[in-house]
Symmetry: C2
Subunit: 256 residues, 2 copies
């Protein structure tokens, strides 16, 4: 009995390539056969081989480089952002932000850049977390995080005017030693609890360009709220990070 192999040609090529990748036959970073090559091997049109590669691309397994070839996407180690990133002790001991520590640990060079500090209307979800009216003006701080000049995440922080006042939080791009939470302490807000709401989705076209997202890679969105000793929210930050470079690591007690 001949097995006609019911699978469609494009699927068959994609399945074969995927198997080669998963078995390690095509190692991380390895070059796949060219589209024209695959088409010839499988006796299909070039478009069909192309479709197969497109499937693997949306699965995040490979990346194409114009003029060079298609390569197995290297699985870069995840940057683990821990719940201890707000720890006061760590802040004091090292003087380095957890982001910098993580990136350095991976032998890469960290860089952070504050792109803007300005009043702006609060997005609805943010206003909701801060107990404000939607659209009410707040201080908006936009921060970009890089590893070896590659963007890995963006964080947009929203601070009520009543909290920021005319402190550096509202005016200075560079906040000095001890991260932003030291500055919050300066104006009387000590972070004692946090809430983090996490979701994952595909990036918008803007995010694709801004974060140089490879195809087939989602973003992780974290909506972070900080609470002071009175359990009042005093700051919300929305992080958007490349899913292939970032992971979250929470370690916490069970309450009750």
């Amino acid at each position: 009995m001949t097995d006609p192999d019911k699978r469609l040609p494009s699927r068959r090529i994609a399945d074969d390539l995927r198997a080669s990748i998963e078995s390690g036959e095509l190692a991380s970073g390895a070059k796949l056969p060219s589209e024209r090559d695959l088409a010839a091997r499988y006796g299909t049109a070039r478009n069909t081989a192309r479709e197969a590669i497109s499937i693997l691309q949306t699965e995040g397994l490979v990346v194409a480089q114009h003029g060079r070839g298609v390569f197995v996407r290297p699985r870069t180690p995840l940057m683990r952002l821990g719940s201890n990133r707000y720890s006061r002790r760590l802040r004091g001991e090292t003087g380095l932000s957890p982001f910098r520590i993580e990136v350095t640990k991976q032998g890469r060079t960290p860089k952070t850049e504050c792109r803007s500090v300005e009043p702006a209307p609060a997005p609805a979800d943010v206003a909701d977390r801060l107990g404000l009216e939607g659209g009410e003006p707040v201080i908006r701080r936009e921060n970009w995080y890089f590893a070896d000049d590659e963007p890995v995440q963006v964080g947009v922080t929203y601070i009520p005017l009543g909290v920021a006042g005319d402190s550096p939080l509202a005016t200075a791009k560079v906040l000095g030693k001890g991260s932003i939470y030291a500055r919050f302490e300066d104006v009387g807000y000590v972070i004692t609890r946090i809430r983090e709401e996490i979701s994952a989705r595909m990036p918008s076209p803007d995010e694709v360009t801004g974060l140089a997202m490879p195809p087939g890679v989602p973003v992780i969105e974290v909506l972070h709220t900080s609470f002071d000793a009175d359990r009042q929210p005093f700051e919300v930050t929305r992080f958007v990070m490349r899913g292939d470079l970032n992971g979250l690591d929470y370690n916490m007690p069970i309450e009750d």
Copy 2:
């Protein structure tokens, strides 16, 4: 000066459609023009219109239905799995699992199904969290979670043989009242801390079929570890959930 509109035809169509979706002109669930229709309107080949739709699909904005059309993907409300899902008090008060509460709150019908309970070798990352050798046998429990018979997440729990013994944890698919953590308490393990490691990625082909993943939707993977009063790990669960239906909500104190 004539503006030749440098954008490629497929991009142009995709951009126009995306704009219509974001403006609300094409509402959630609305039907897009057919491929042949779009091609005619823009004066391109059908394949080009098709390519445009494919772009929107990988962005997770639309879903195609064979024979029916292409529709704006409804943004279903996220199911927020909170860190309180391990709370002992909630467990006692309601008798319902947080999953059931959440699904019911959305007016949908929850269902959970234990597909298998059997000894199996521990995956490397799991063994690592449990302080075991890789490949060492553990009890493996596979649970599926549904809302209106639609699969929303899978959880695979790994329990060291020394913990499970021959208790129901190792033998019974149905664990009775008060969730699995009540059974752990029965054998002397009280959950006092958890660690959750979160990442996001595109689903594997198996996950696409198992979870009925729409195109352009990532999965959230949570590697959960439970610690007892002595800070010893006694259980690891790997959750894989549909990114379009699930979100995580952590509320915790800052330690130190």
